[in-house]
Symmetry: T
Subunit: 148 residues, 12 copies
């Protein structure tokens, strides 16, 4: 079972961008940690980060038939990208949406997610450890589905 | 007279993505059919599909002075992209907006179009045959203008 | 197969009312042209125009069991008449909504359609030729359904 | 004491239109049943159904000085017709508004009633039996007023 | 020069309907008085009242090429009828909108007029004498235009 | 068949609270009358009134598996309590919502009901007799369902 | 009987400011004409124009006990000044609100009037002759009241 | 370190209420599982469920000085209870908000949370396993804070 | 003359909860001080604090016929509880609403009060001394009424 | 310590304007009473009333460095004047906002205050005695600050 | 060529009012600096500051026929004064709107400008140096126009 | 000190696109002129234009640690791109937002800027010379900061 971890715009800055908000773990460190968790869970991991909305859509299309699910932090596009939701629904990819910060405690622009209605679930505000929670939760959910 | 047929994000999935909504005609099949119609109408056809908003803007710029009009299904960008409308107005390209599904019977996010106010016309819900209607309508409209 | 072409308030003025907006084709000319198209398509055509909302509802009721579909330009009632939508849904009549002008480029009162969510499709801004596109598209859609 | 039962647009389709929503009782059957209830209550009944807003206004005007109250299902006009409310208030006719279906569980267009603020009361979602409840409640209310 | 005085729904009740709001002058009395004013002004007068929206549209169409202007109190349709505005604009009839009561001191449903943006002017709250003011103002305005 | 009659906050004041609005029947008198109606209808009645939102939720939970339906006047909680709707849906209890006064003729805070979308039907403005109408209507509806 | 004619900000520019909108009659010419009309009507006239909101309030206070009514064009303050409405209500001065242009055909900022709910009536779009209509209507209304 | 797990209205129905939405795990089963997780994490667990808003506030007050954090699913009160947020902020209790279902894919009433702006984080849609994720995430966050 | 001082949710935390916002006076200290003021004013005082909405309603009902007025700080329920307003109006209890902090300088959720439209007056932002101001103002107002 | 009492537009009418709303105390009587209270409190009082927004701004500027605080009833400008708030914040003057009537029980235009977010506190609906409450509360607050 | 520099309410406080927001340059210093820039640009400068809305309107009227353009910081009136926009449009004066602070980063009341739609351009957030930019830009724009 | 000048979608069309709106200066001409200004100011200039949102984000990331500030005209993305604002804030780059046209005099879609709240300042409507103003203002602001 392959799981994708997709990061959107500005998440390449993780660990150095506004660390009081986003923490001090860099994206490579985070991806390395998630790879360990994946090994423990017995799933393959595939990580990518891009800054473009179309590039994210392309990434999702490329997972069709290859990945069983995805952990996605689409950054600002979470709040505005219908195209990305269409892509996820279009390829039928179960996903968990993650936000490092508590978006509900920030500006109103971040309170609404375009992706959430199509997600399995949403995890916000748990810092970078939220990705691990999402990965564990997603894998458990996929196993539960496969049993049902 | 050259007419462009531009498709935006996720329309490369046509025919396989949610076929109960979008039908079973693939994009290559659709483009092949439109090419035939174009021949019948005596116009040249140029087709392209991209997933990026900026890439769509680039495509539109590239048509400047080369195409007489365009049939455009900008997918989700139809609902959010002021940049694309600016591009179409900026290069002065007459266009007909097409949507395969009846966007007015779907989620509110799809009820409003950023492109429509600048369009010649809009055709929604007629399935993939809507492209042919758009092409015929656009060509008729361009001839009528050239006579006026 | 019988198809109705229903026109609502003020469309009796077609060709003489604000021709820079609505063109110079009169309603009788338009209906004559559509009759020719219908012959080509092998369907019977039935045309009517009324200015009253209740009268439009009556017309729709009268088509029950007699017509396979309708092309409807309900004029201003498109934007306000829930009664007309109820009538169309109540008698189960597939229809394509037409507007001569690009309503999305006009006053906000014209941007929303009460009928559209119940329509097969919507065609706006293509001038009076939009009726022919609607007729062709509707007939194709009805054949496709009958085959499915 | 004469009571009117007024039905608005599309209610002539009762029993055949979307029966899973509106039930299988036809309007003549319903009116016959209400006539029996009226006899039991010792009131005269007068029933009418029209599809036009102006025609409904005319009906209300015609009841002036002749009817003590009305049970009204104005269908879609309930949600949009200030003219009908003006007519009811203008002739001073106490009325109970009825809807066959639970309008609050349907589209937002049906959640608001133009008539309700001027009504004695409103009964929704009780199916066609709701008319009988309205008739009984109206008559009781009129007797109570006449005693007060 | 012929001027039409058009009254919409419920204005046949003038003088008897809620007289504390609308006064005690009946519509025939009002029309007789306006006829005298018209004679003084040297214009022909034509008066009509209907309760239907479509009937009002029909009346307006019938004035095309026959009347130089109109004084219109469309009652509740003033607030909701885009069809009536379309009719007035469609036949190019200059008109003054009148309301007997001060609609701005009543329910919010009466604060907005669909007709006003297309009117020469609007006169509200002056009671039935407001019609005379409208007639005088309209005729003066038409003379001024004809001189310009 | 057991039917519950649940009253929410302030309805213990019935008959003494603002009698010009709510009438002069007290809650015990009303419940006694409904018990008679229930006997006539051959159903068992169970009445309760509480002022707390959580207490209403508890009452609803306690009816699970014991009651076939409920007549509910949740007072002010009708307009704000998602928890109560969740309780009713959660235990699958069919219910008719009642309001003594015509809430649509009062402050905007009372125009919307949180419960109504999940109700069988809603009866407002018929005074305390509205409870009897609701009881009769609910029982008829339950019998009809059991026959279907 | 003394009537005041009060003009607010920018109306000193009448006749020279945007004459295609406001006409070519200057304020002194208008006031001279109104004085003649006043003589004909047998009332005393008092005219004033100021650009300040507080100054308008002061003017209104100064009319207390001296004037029987006022014709007021408060210019832009009509749309924003609760203080002016309070002043008019506070001194109990009946007034007719006038606007030279059809404010309902202009920007949305001009569609709402703070004064209108407290006015006898409102006259808009009739050009500078609208003042005379307002004066005649106000005087007639005051006589009618004094007779009632 | 003591952690509270607080459940609000209707969560006592877990496992039996709409299982297609909420799953088949009962609240006692869930609490037993969380107790195991707590033991593994080396923290004490304290669980409670109440249906009243005030009762939830009381529970939170009772944790003051005794608990290091809380996992809270306040059910419907999440969307409406400012009082509960005030209680949590008032006693300074770090908490993670949990929802079993994906509230963003349900009715609009569930899209907004009153608690979220004051939460450490929010976990929705992960089913009852979401509580474990919340517990693990909260404990990790508390340890991280105590180290910082 | 008996005056009640009612405090709602979280006000038992006064003096210890966010003291930079709410100050350092505890509720018992405040109540003791108000008792002294009451003695000075010659009125009896009765104080209560509860966290439940229904419990507040119960408290208000219990004051019927016993108390001449109330000083109420309903905390968060001020902003959401129609039930509490209904209770206060239902028992006809004059009251002054108090808020310790300046709610207009805090989050939007606190800007609107459900109680205020039914209050004698509202005092916000004056800290805990605001209760004394409210008590003095209320008593003066009740004496003034009894003299009138 | 000098305290200013500033009154805005129309408050010179106090005692004579709508006395059923504003009471029968005139502004000079009120100011004389407040002067007595000031003497009791050991503070100097300075009173002023103006009808102009700019004049109020000027007054506030003139208090800079001279007054320790202000009691302000800005009348209608409370609801619209950002300039006045800027002035108060600009000169750093602590103030209590007063309204004689309960603005929350009146038209929506009076529900929002531009000044309140910058105020120490707000006192509404307590009649003219509200000024004394404000004065006492403000002085107490200023002493408390000076001690802190 | 004469250019006016107009400052509205509270800008006389520049340099001393909230210097962390508005800087430490006083208005006289700013005006002196702008006079130097004007000399360099070869234009005459005329500076004024007033706190009243009507006074600003008077100032604008006084520039008619004397000034070629204006740099205007209308302070809080920028956000509310339609009267000032009317004055500027009425006398046909080209102007650049200036704000010292970045109004888009402050309260929502400051995000919208009533003047901006009629301005040549708008310069915000550049501190007091923004006036010089505005002056240079305005003069360049006026020269460009005079050449066109 | 290096300053970047970033242009977003469609600004490559400058000089040829809608010249009546955007003027006749091309982007290369503008960049050449800005380079001269930069030389005069003693700063290095780096110019770029892209049509993609992600590409703009990439450009901003690439300036990290290399540029002291930026002049940005993000075209249509100014109004919609939270991702771009996040990028600018994420790399801590001070910037001035520029628009060639007066966006406040155009369609509502252009009235709001996503970037402005994070900008140093905003300059709109000054034509292509606005870039020079922005550059001069930005450099002055950066020097002022470095001195502070």
């Amino acid at each position: 079972m392959r799981i994708a971890v997709l990061n959107g715009p500005n998440l390449n800055l993780l660990g150095t961008r506004e660390p009081e908000l986003y923490g001090r773990t860099t994206l490579p460190e985070l991806e390395a940690h998630l790879a360990e968790v994946a090994r423990e869970l017995g799933v393959e991991l595939e990580c990518a980060q891009v800054n473009g909305e179309g590039a994210l859509v392309d990434l999702v299309h490329g997972l069709r038939g290859r990945a069983a699910g995805a952990v996605i932090n689409a950054g600002a596009y979470s709040h505005t990208s219908l195209a990305l939701r269409d892509a996820l629904v279009g390829v039928g990819l179960p996903f968990v949406e993650v936000h490092v910060t508590n978006v509900f405690a920030r500006e109103p622009e971040r309170h609404h997610s375009m992706l959430a209605p199509a997600a399995v679930g949403v995890i916000v505000g748990m810092g970078t450890p939220g990705y691990e929670l999402a990965l564990r939760g997603l894998v458990a959910s996929l196993y539960a589905r496969s049993l049902a």
